[in-house]
Amino acid sequence: MLNVSIYRYNPEVDAEPYMQDFEFDAQGKDLMVLDVLEKLKIQDPSLVFRRSCREGVCGSDGVNISGKNGLACITPLSEAVKGNKLVIRPLPGLPVIRDLVIDMGQFYAQYEKIQPYIINNSPVPAIERLQSPEERAKLDGLYECILCACCSTACPSFWWNPEKFIGPSGLLQAYRFLADSRDTATEERLANLDDPFSVFRCHGIMNCVQVCPKGLNPTKAIGHIRNMLIRRAT
């Protein structure tokens, strides 16, 4: 039997959060952590978590699994269980609404700040704005982000200054639009990021790279933005 310890908190009932232990029989299968949560919810319907696509595409079920942020639906027990124990907590650093559900408002506020859409005020061409294969290739490793928040909530700089530091996810997206040949607002975007907090609070500890379930590299993207800001300033 596997010992599963889950963070529980219902602000309407509980004075403070606590860890609840469950016994779980995986019957020798290498299930995904989400499967375990689904089965435990049958046992205790009051357990609350987010999930949707259950295949690592929607980014709903980001949780902290045995100390490492990840998507429950694509994290197998063989990776997550340590010493016959599985510990599941909400993503750290953001307010808990209930059990494993966090309030992502601050995360989305930072995403909104970087203007996550193409800005181009030139007249719209008859068919579409064309891009060469080389220009398109620059977006690889950037556009795949699903905004699950695993990276930003693994980042101490985001924990300490979530209102001021954009965070790895938002910055990865910021660079996705800075690198896009169809976008003409590079100067405006850089001006919005040019302060001691938005970008420069990244100290390159690479927690974001370690946890990204899509295998992306926000630290590298942040390095590109930093170089653009420094070139702009000098």
């Binding site: 200054n161 040019d194 302060d195 001691p196 907090f197 420069f200 930093r226 420094i230 300033a233 000098t234």
Partner: protein, 122 residues
């Protein structure tokens, strides 16, 4: 005065560049001093005094201490604005952070003046 110390900062890019340049200066000084000590194992007072009476060495030391000052100012402000925040310790954080920054600025200035005093024997 307090507001000046609370606000005195550089932009993001200049902070970043200053931290790197000052780090290179400090590393160069460290390598030089360690190298000097290793190549002069039986160092006498006269040798050490002669080295430090060279104008170039005094300027090197002063530039290094100035680099430490800038590096510490930027680095410590960064640490203070991470940990002494309203989010972490409540509404008293802003006042406390300003006081700590003021103290930090005072200590840094004191070290700079003291360095000049030592180097030129004033």
């Amino acid at each position: 005065m307090m507001a000046f110390f609370a606000r005195f900062t550089f932009t993001g890019p200049s902070n970043w560049i200053i931290q790197r340049i000052t780090a290179i200066v400090m590393a160069a000084y460290l390598f030089f001093i360690v190298g000097f000590l290793m190549t002069n194992p039986a160092l006498t007072y006269d040798q050490w005094s002669a080295l430090n009476s060279l104008l170039s060495m005094r300027i090197f030391t002063l530039v290094t201490i100035a680099a430490v000052a800038f590096h510490a100012w930027i680095g410590m402000r960064c640490v203070l604005s991470d940990y002494i925040t309203v989010r972490l310790i409540g509404p008293k954080a802003n006042g406390l952070r300003n006081v700590l920054q003021l103290g930090l600025g005072f200590i840094i200035l004191l070290y700079l003046v003291w360095t000049i005093k030592i180097l030129w024997g004033l």
